[in-house]
């Protein structure tokens, strides 16, 4: 039984069809990346899953709970960080979390403090949220999403506004949660992030699931694009993985297992090359994605 089961989900807002017979299954302990351009129906799908929007037709089950019958129960076992949200600015971080926790029966102050520590907000626990920066709010948002120790965590554009450190932290937390056995539903239109974190991706376009599957299955492996001044020696790069040359971009493509850019750059620098570009290439996910979208664009607009 999949953790999240969506069948035939349809939702229209007036004339606009937001979701068109959507089917989706997300397995337990999966970090599922939900990809799609803006307006493709990502947030709508999540809202339907959480019972925040009533679909026109379709069935949704989360952890075996029918969403239509038991929306509250669903929310009890889920955590959600929406794409635009806010906190009660006049309250402190702790007070905000405490408030939300009460809907679950309340959590001890210690637990809340732990949570804040987890998201890196210990120093700001007693601070009023109105004084928080964007990044701090985002962390707090993540904290409230996992406040209730949910089985499934829905994150909608969670790294929006975060600095690279924040993003990195975020991704670490994501992985930690997965280790704890949680399922993560990660909605984004930033392909790079998705590639970084997710196991499975699903591409939604105009309310329909175009493709679902593991990244490696769908779009190849990880690579680093290297551009140096002067052009680096291929041999230097070989130790990291398979090397190929992209003429169009005048850059080396190194297929890697993991992100080793740090070592790469160090290595290049040590060898006297100034790094012009050191880009991690999500294994063709973008291409895959764009191609897929373009294909369906024609279909849908036809």
């Amino acid at each position: 039984m999949a953790e999240i089961e969506i069948e035939g989900l349809t939702k229209s807002f007036g004339q606009f069809r937001a979701l068109d017979n959507l089917n989706l299954y997300v397995e337990e302990r999966d970090i599922f990346g939900f990809l799609g351009p803006n307006g493709s129906g990502k947030s709508t799908t999540i809202n339907c899953i959480l019972g925040l929007i009533k679909p026109d037709s379709g069935k949704i089950r989360v952890c075996g709970i029918d969403v239509e019958e038991n929306p509250l129960e669903v929310r009890r076992v889920c955590g959600y960080l929406p794409d635009n949200y806010g906190f009660y600015g006049n309250m402190t971080a702790i007070d905000n979390l405490k408030y939300f926790s009460e809907f679950y029966g309340g959590i001890s102050r210690d637990a809340i403090e732990e949570l804040l520590a987890l998201v890196g907000l210990s120093h700001a626990a007693e601070k009023k949220v109105s004084e928080f920066s964007r990044g701090m709010k985002q962390r707090l948002g993540l904290a409230q999403a996992i406040l209730n120790d949910p089985k499934v965590v829905f994150l909608d554009e969670p790294t929006y506004g975060l600095d690279p450190q924040g993003i990195a932290d975020f991704q670490k937390i994501m992985k930690d949660l997965q280790k704890k056995g949680k399922t993560i539903f990660f909605s984004s239109h930033i392909l790079s992030e998705v590639k970084e974190v997710c196991d499975t991706v699903g591409i939604i376009y105009r309310g329909r699931m175009l493709r679902v599957g593991k990244i490696s299955e769908l779009c190849g492996s990880l690579a680093v694009v290297v551009q140096t001044e002067p052009r680096a020696d291929e041999g230097l790069l070989k130790r990291f993985g398979r090397v190929s040359y992209d003429e169009k971009r005048d850059a080396w493509i190194v297929e890697v297992e993991k992100d080793c850019r740090v070592e790469l750059s160090k290595h290049l620098f040590e060898n006297g090359y100034v790094v012009k570009e050191l880009r991690l290439k999500v294994p063709n996910l973008e291409e895959f994605y764009f191609r897929l979208v373009r294909e369906n664009e024609g279909v849908n607009s036809g």
């Binding site: 309250m91 402190t92 007070d95």
Partner: protein
């Protein structure tokens, strides 16, 4: 006795013969009768006969008359006879008389004195009359003396009650007539009917000596119970009507109008009219007849002005307050026709009082007033403060050629004043909300010389303050200078706002009243302030505690 002797002698001596052919003669009383006599001297010698007469039972006045001369003796020659007469007046008393005439011999004549019915002829021209009650019937009568001598007729009449008869001969009222022999005289009989006679037939008997003539009078209209009228006009010597002259008729008083005329309506009768007016001599008109329904117009009556006459016009009763000067206006009128000066004085003033006459603002002791004018003066009387309320009778006198007086009844009255004196002279009382305030004070009669009666004591308070007690509520009387204590209890409501309030104490006597005010300062209860603040504080504290407890940092 003498007569008897004479008779015998006469009989005894028939020498002379006194003869008369008349043995009986009838005469009307008062009538002059002449009896012809013949005396013959049948003797030889010349004789003097002494004439005498006597009458029985009463004296008859008469005399012997010869040749138109009164004689008392006659001298006759022998065989001479002389004719002479004895003239006498028939006595007034009717009856039979014996007249004995003597001249040596005597004769006696029977004189019958009386009224003979046949001697008089009366011809009333009118036998029956119709009149209104009160009218006078005028009947002309003709009386004819059928006798050959003077006939005296007494006139009288029998008339119903209230009626009157009068006989007039040539306008003069007569009650006895003397008709010469054969004389016819027309006289007038006036029969005055009474105005109170009822309608009906009446008979009036006119008597002429014994002769009665019946006149029938039919009264066809009665004025019974009707008043009659007297009209007159009173004028003075200048021909001007005298107004407001007082006319007293019987028990009633009338006054002339502005032009001096008066119309007096009064029940029928005969009255004396008395006409009076100040400045004029009084005039009385007697025996003014008033007949019901008829006017007796007296015409013009002259009233003579007095030379000197004054009158004082002034209030007869004046009140004067003790210790003050009271001004009394008076007017002196000179109603005489001569100017006069008058010395002014007041009689009857007790000690300590003063009286001053004032003309305008000037004090005078006398005034000069022209005839027909008047002067207005003021009499200022000062009542000393030591006086007591009383009644004083004064006389104000203006003495001139004529003296005028007026009586003045001076009521000496005191001043009325009522005062309230709070105890200790305190007009302000302080109390707290909900308290009972006791106001004590004296009610005093602060007037002079007077008593105040039925003094009612009351208190009026603001809004709904309650007057618990006023003791006493009524003081029956207080003499001047006396006072009595009163107690007034007032309750202040517990919700009265702390402020100054006025309580009015009213004293109301029969004669005067007064109101005084006491200020009551109400303070708030001491603890009230704290209680209030405590409540507010508790509200604030509670709010604070609440915010702190459930609030957040």
């Amino acid at each position: 006795m003498k007569a008897a002797i004479f008779l015998i002698l006469a009989l005894l001596v028939p020498v002379s013969a006194l003869e008369t052919k008349i043995s009986e003669i009838t005469a009307v009383p008062g009538e002059e009768v002449s009896i012809p006599l013949l005396l013959k001297n049948s003797g030889e010698k010349e004789e003097t006969y002494y004439l005498s007469y006597s009458s029985y039972p009463a004296k008859i006045e008469g005399y012997f008359c010869y040749d138109g001369k009164k004689v008392s003796s006659l001298e006759l020659k022998s065989n001479e006879s002389v004719g002479f007469s004895f003239v006498f007046t028939a006595p007034k008393e009717t009856g039979d008389y014996q007249l004995t005439l003597s001249a040596d011999s005597s004769v006696s004549v029977k004189v019958k004195v009386g009224y003979s019915h046949y001697a008089l002829e009366v011809l009333p021209k009118i036998r029956g009359l119709i009149l209104e009650a009160g009218d006078t019937a005028i009947i002309d009568l003709t009386l004819r003396n059928k006798l050959s001598g003077i006939y005296e007729v007494s006139l009288s009449c029998n008339a119903p009650e209230g009626w009157e008869c009068h006989f007039y001969d040539s306008g003069v009222e007569v009650f006895r007539l003397s008709l010469s022999a054969g004389e016819s005289r027309t006289i007038r009989a006036a029969i005055e009917t009474s105005s109170s006679s009822d309608v009906g037939n009446y008979s009036v008997v006119l008597k002429f000596n014994e002769k009665a003539e019946n006149i029938e009078i039919l009264v066809n209209k009665s004025h019974v119970n009707e008043k009659g009228e007297i009209r007159l006009t009173v004028i003075d010597k200048d021909g001007k009507g005298v107004s407001s002259a007082r006319i007293t008729v019987g028990n009633e008083t009338f006054y002339t109008s502005g032009d001096g005329t008066a119309i007096v309506e009064i029940m029928p009768g005969t009255y004396d009219l008395r006409i009076e007016k100040g400045g004029y001599h009084e005039k009385t008109i007697r025996d003014v007849k008033v007949k019901g329904g008829r006017t007796n117009n007296l015409g013009i009556v002259l009233l003579e002005k007095k030379a000197y006459y004054a009158e004082i016009t002034m209030s007869s009763r004046v009140s004067a307050t003790i210790g003050t000067v009271t001004s009394i206006p008076l007017k002196i009128k000179n109603l005489g026709y001569a100017d006069d000066s008058y010395a002014l004085s007041v009689e009857g003033l007790p000690y300590g009082y003063t009286a001053t006459f004032k003309e305008g603002n000037l004090a005078v002791s006398g005034v000069f007033i022209e005839s027909g004018s008047a002067k207005e003066l003021t009499l200022d009387i000062f009542v000393p403060s030591t006086a007591e309320p009383s009644e004083i009778g004064l006389r104000v006198i203006a003495e001139g050629m004529s003296t005028a007086e007026a009586s003045l009844n001076l009521s000496i009255i005191g001043t009325f004043q009522l005062t309230f004196e709070p105890e200790g002279g305190k007009y302000t009382v302080t109390a707290s909300q909900g308290d009972t305030v006791l106001i004590r004070g004296n009610v005093k009669n602060s007037g002079i010389g007077t008593i105040l009666t039925n003094i009612k004591v009351s208190a009026s308070t603001p809004g709904d303050w309650e007057v618990l007690e006023v003791n006493p509520e009524l003081i029956p009387s207080l003499r001047a200078g006396e006072s009595e204590q009163v107690r007034i209890k007032i309750s202040i409501p517990s919700d009265a706002s702390p402020s100054e309030y006025r309580v009015s104490i009213s004293l109301h006597a029969d004669q005067t009243s007064t109101t005084d005010r006491i200020t009551v300062v109400v303070q708030e209860k001491g603890y009230a302030t704290f209680l209030g603040m405590a409540i507010i504080a508790s509200a604030l504290i509670g709010l604070y505690v609440l915010v702190r407890r459930i609030g957040r940092r």
